[in-house]
């Protein structure tokens, strides 16, 4: 039948869309880059704090651990779409607009902070207590213990955590995109769903599949190289 025609047509349509696909990929990249950076810079230390304030750890502190843990759970229990809507005022305040990838990065970052904090906390828990104690016995300062022992020993797990975070937030960024953030998910919905150009939808999903595979592969590879256990 005219299947081949359709395929040729589809490819032609896609190639016409190439500039927009590039644009969408760049937007997705920007949303992720901002969200992940904030997650690392804010969520990372928060995760370390969660870990160190646990009972039996270096800075065991029930109150701090309770409050931080409660906050992390609170943010994480919001469905992302609701978090996004409720953060609209904050987004407007910070970015001056609620449209575009930078605006979408605000709720993404907000959700990524506690997510990454928990991942970091879980990863650090795998370090044997005795190794940290050995460093204490050698006269290491808290900063030295954090930088040299915790991060050094957990580095492979931290890379794996970052891989998980990146992949989760690739899909969150698609949601954020639909509500005005742009990006690959937004493109898929606009053409594929609203204009019935199924080939665009399929192509965008395939693109996301490929990106996820690449991220996972790179993450696994790096983690394996860093892990000497």
């Amino acid at each position: 039948m005219d299947e081949q025609l359709t395929l040729a047509q589809a490819l032609a349509n896609l190639s016409d869309l190439a500039p927009e696909i590039w644009q969408a990929s760049a937007e997705t990249g920007l949303m992720l880059a901002i969200g992940l950076s904030v997650a690392i810079v804010v969520g990372g230390p928060l995760g370390i704090l969660l870990y160190l304030t646990q009972p039996g750890q270096l800075f065991a502190n029930r109150a701090v651990n309770g409050v931080v843990g409660w906050f992390v759970n609170l943010v994480r229990s919001f469905p992302f779409i609701i978090l996004m809507v409720s953060l609209v005022p904050l987004t407007r305040l910070l970015v001056g607009s609620t449209i575009g990838p930078i605006a979408a990065a605000v709720p993404l970052s907000f959700a990524a902070i506690p997510y990454f904090a928990r991942l970091v906390e879980q990863t650090l828990r795998e370090i044997p207590r005795g190794v940290i104690e050995a460093a204490e016995a050698m006269g290491a300062s808290p900063a030295q213990i954090i930088w040299k022992v915790l991060l050094g020993e957990a580095r492979a797990g931290l890379i794996s955590s970052l891989t998980i975070l990146t992949i989760s937030f690739l899909s969150y960024s698609a949601v954020a995109g639909v509500v005005g953030g742009g990006g690959i998910g937004d493109l898929a919905i606009r053409y594929g769903y609203y204009r019935f150009q199924t080939e665009v939808m399929v192509a965008m999903v395939l693109l996301l599949v490929v990106i996820v595979q690449i991220i996972q592969f790179a993450g696994n590879h790096l983690a394996a190289r860093l892990d000497k256990r």
Partner: protein, 245 residues
């Protein structure tokens, strides 16, 4: 060298109430000796050892090492004092992502040594424990005995006056045990490092210790003297430990 005066340590029981792990204990360990802490499981040996470098803080009593009262030091001063007290662990507690050389370098990095000094000292320590050919290996690539040698080299690296060892051979087979004990004895003899070693085996005491304290229920119940690898025991508890050995 090490003076524990009336040190007392109690722990909160998970089910409520308190447990006295070390009871009002006084102990003097001389410079340059290998001193054993022996007793059955739960006697308080590890707790007493950990009181010496203040990994456990006594509820009362004083801990004096090398002429300094550790309990009165600030956090920063205590960290410096700890660089003078090496520690060796039953489970080795090496950093898995660091090579053998980098593990031994760790306490020197902490103490702020220069790279050149660190490299020289690490090479020296690797030689002392006989692992010069393993510098670039990771702990996962070593046998238990080799891991413990790294642990000893790490403890020795900052030229401490004291090394504390908590059952350093309990995870090892008898032959490896002997080689690790010989290694500790060698270090004591060559560098005059005071060694405090926790064990539940009289064999360890006979083999390398000059003196030992027998602990029971958080108290020193007998001081044991070792002469010609023989332990003179008076208490029934000490005799029972001798029989096991």
């Amino acid at each position: 060298m090490i003076h524990l005066k009336n040190v007392h340590k109690r722990f909160r029981r998970p089910e409520g109430g308190w447990f006295d792990a070390v009871r009002d204990t006084t102990l003097h360990i001389k410079a340059g000796e290998i001193f054993g802490l022996i007793g059955f499981s739960g006697a308080g040996k590890s707790t007493l050892l950990r009181l010496i470098n203040l990994l456990e803080r006594p509820d009362h009593g004083s801990v004096n090492v090398d002429g300094r009262d550790l309990t009165g030091l600030s956090a920063a001063e205590l960290r410096r004092a700890r660089q003078n007290i090496g520690m060796v662990f039953q489970q080795f507690n090496l950093m898995a992502n660091r090579t053998v050389a980098a593990n031994i370098a760790f306490p020197l990095e902490i103490a702020g040594w220069s790279r050149a000094d660190i490299d020289a000292r690490v090479a020296e320590c690797l030689d002392i424990v006989g692992l010069a050919d393993r510098a670039g290996h990771y702990p996962a690539q070593l046998s238990g005995g080799q891991k413990q040698r790294v642990g000893i080299a790490r403890a020795l690296a900052p030229r401490p006056h004291v090394i504390l060892a908590d059952e350093p051979t309990s995870a090892l087979d008898p032959k490896t045990t002997q080689s690790i004990l010989d290694c500790l004895q060698d270090i004591n003899a060559r560098f005059g490092v005071t060694v405090v070693i926790v064990t539940h085996e009289m064999h360890v005491i006979r083999s390398i210790c000059h003196r030992a304290a027998l602990l029971d229920a958080g108290e020193v119940v007998e001081l044991l003297e070792v002469t010609d690898k023989q332990v003179a025991a008076r208490s029934a508890l000490a005799k029972s430990l001798l029989e096991v050995a």
